[in-house]
Amino acid sequence: MDTSKVATSNATTAATASKPSKIGALGNWADERLGLAAMGKKNLRKVFPDHWSFMLGEIALWSFVVLLLTGVFLTLWFVPSMGEVQYNGTYEQLRGVHMSEAFASSLNISFDVRGGLLMRQMHHWAAMLFVASMMIHLLRVFFTGAHRKPRELNWVIGCLLLILGTLEGFTGYSLPDDLLSGTGIRAADGFIKASPVVGTYMSFLLFGGEFPGESIIPRLYVVHILLIPGLLLALVAAHMLLLVYHKHTQWPGPGRTEKNVVGYPMLPVYAAKAGGFFFIVFGVTALLGGLLSINPVWKYGPYDPSKVTAGSQPDWYMGWPDGALRIMPGIESEIWGHTISWNVMLPILILPVVMFIILLLLPFIEAWVTGDKREHHLLQRPRNAPTRTATMVALMTMYGLFWAAGGNDIIAIRLHLSINQITYFMRAAVVIGPVLAFIITRRWCISLQRKDNETLLHGYETGIIMRSPEGGYTERHLPLPASTAYTLTARHRDPEVNGHHEAVDANGVAAPGTGRLEGLRTRLRTLMWSDNVQKPTREELDEGHHHAEHEHELQAGLDHSADGHQFDGHHLVEDETLRGH
């Protein structure tokens, strides 16, 4: 018997060993030395779930790759030096002007290096996209509850990536040494000097003497091309290793549990999707870089502390502390002959740090409030965690208002408003706005929960208007398909809260942890859950279906194909014929 002709799989033809190919031989050679096959067998088939919102982090990853590629190009020509030179390049309006070598080389890249301006603009646009996509990724994670156990540390890494990306952006737009970037460094110098006692010393340390000195550009350059990118790379790697280790979260649905991942394998599906997405992000960056002017340094001219331009703003991600600074009332106090500039310290040195710490701690605060120690791999819809969703929307509102305040002068001239009135409005709005946003979002989520229950119990609206023999009109409701109903109900019930902390439980056992903090925790738990709408119980569902069946019986005579409800997207229509009764 020729054993080579015996089928070893359940396919139709027997598997036979063909002649080893050259590539196979090479693969074998590598496998014997690196053990790739065992690793690849597991990882190439790694499954990822499919949803558009899971690809937002990828935008950040790919724009980071674009940043690395274009950044390497720029380093080849950029001269990080504040040595003074006379410009004699192509750009006529600045020919003969004295400037730093950094600025001269930026002009050189823009006008005399082939493709240089495109690379500069792509680099800058990619930086804007990098930070923006990290933020929308962060929002997606928080709104869907993907920051819960076991992913809290990955949340922390993500936050560190966000703050490092922001700093990387700041050092980047400071490098060309044009009027705008110099103004930014000047502002940074002021912020450092606003810190009490040590401010002046820190400024001297950073600038190697009095501002501007000659060391700041070379120092920022090292930070920008070596220190922060290195940290970013390491943290991106850690972020993704943890992603692989935890496995990706997924939306609940039939067949999806806390213990599996339903989706497509890395090879060939996700390799193609993610690889394709890289080219799309690259393409978008190239499109922006090729068509839209960004940071036209030649128009700003070289930095000179005696000059400034209207519309001096930082890049968008530094805009919100700038906005806080712009609307801050001018408060100062003097202690033993030292001025404490609250007007600079509060909005720039304290507020962003506090906000960042809050962001960092969000998963831990939530876990403390809920006391939830379970692992979560199934996502929550934002409406099913109304208080959490409302918290983030409140933070977003605060951010957005500070952000808008950072563009107060542009808003004033474009919308013909008074910059003073914008400032007064914003001072109140940054406090009132988030509170309103919290209340509205929370109630909105609860209403949506109620709507889900409504659909579960009474069916969905078919759009078919029924006329009863008495002449009354009703809209016909039909029960949801089982899979949709499952998806809607695949969530935990929230624990019951009664609003006050009990030191002793029903069995007379002392509750763990008492004291003021525990009281706060109980109040927060109440806020978190008390108004939520819980999914219907089995009895309620049964009753709802029973009721619906009764109604269908009454409408039985009218139940024929021509009513068209089969084509509403909730039913299989293979055997249906339109008007075929």
Partner: protein
């Protein structure tokens, strides 16, 4: 003569025709326009302000300006001590040419900012108004075109003038008018207007007379040549191609950030939705096992 009579008769026959009115109107407009171009004053400097012109200017002034500026241009104060209209003694015809020529005066209502609008007066009337105001006291005259053009300079001198103008612009003007002359905000609803595309004469006059919140750059402060250089630099920005692509209004990082979010993130998220919506297709052919 007979020929003339005959043709006159022919014309006369058409005098009540449907197009006759239009034809006569066109003829009248053409002759008035032609005569106007022949006799209109070339520039304030060339023709010394005649007494007639001053008189005409005074007439116009009394009708359109005196309510706020006073019947002799002495300025008017409100009962609360605020200035309704400032004194015009010594502002010169340059100020009139700027304010009236750009349509800012006569203003529609008092407010934080007098906006530019279509002008109310003809060039001739503006010149008359200018002559009248100049007669109130010595002040800067409307500049000559030679004052702000680079005519007669060699290429090298032109380039040097533009570079110098750029540096003066960045030192003195950008703090309010923005690095590209796109304009900027001033306190309480005021603003430094956009100065891209403004006629050189008006820029020169604005520098000379310091309208509204703008400081006055006298000739001792910025010499006439330096004023000319600033204007030349602004002109060179106009002529320069947009090297980086569409300029997003020349407003700096705010509009760039908007573009990054709306276009950049919009396109990328749109692509993500598209990719996620197009997933693998299984081969429906059944395997016969």
């Amino acid at each position: 003569m007979r020929l003339l009579n005959r043709s006159a008769g022919r014309l006369s026959r058409h005098r009540r025709g449907p197009l006759a009115g239009v034809a006569v109107l066109l003829l009248a407009l053409l002759s008035v326009g032609g005569l106007y171009t022949l006799f209109s004053p070339a520039s304030a400097d060339e023709t010394a302000a005649s007494a007639d012109q001053v008189a005409q200017g005074r007439e116009l002034f009394l009708v359109s300006c005196a309510f706020c500026h006073g019947q002799n241009g002495e300025g008017v104060r409100t009962t609360s001590g605020d200035q309704l209209g400032p004194s015009l003694v010594g502002v010169g015809s340059a100020a009139v040419d700027f304010q009236v020529g750009t349509g800012r005066m006569p203003m529609v209502q008092p407010g934080a900012q007098v906006p530019r609008k279509p002008e109310t007066f003809s060039d001739e009337e503006i010149a008359a108004l200018g002559a009248y105001v100049a007669s109130l006291g010595p002040g800067p005259a409307v500049p000559d075109e030679g004052d702000y053009s680079l005519e007669g300079l060699s290429d090298e001198e032109r380039e040097a003038a533009i570079v110098r103008g750029g540096q003066i612009f960045l030192t003195n003007c950008t703090a309010c008018h923005n690095f590209e002359g796109s304009g900027g905000a001033m306190p309480r609803g005021g603003y430094a207007p956009k100065i891209r595309g403004v006629e050189p004469r008006y820029i020169y006059e604005a520098l000379l007379t310091g309208p509204q919140n703008m400081p006055n750059f006298s000739n001792g402060n910025l010499s006439p040549d330096e004023k000319r250089d600033v204007i030349a630099y602004l002109g060179s920005l106009e002529e320069m191609p947009n090297y980086g692509g569409f300029g997003l209004g020349g407003l700096g990082p705010v509009t760039e950030g908007l573009a990054a979010w709306i276009l950049g993130i919009g396109l990328c998220v749109g692509a993500a939705v598209w990719i996620a919506a197009h997933t693998t297709r299984t081969n429906k052919k059944k395997v016969d096992a």
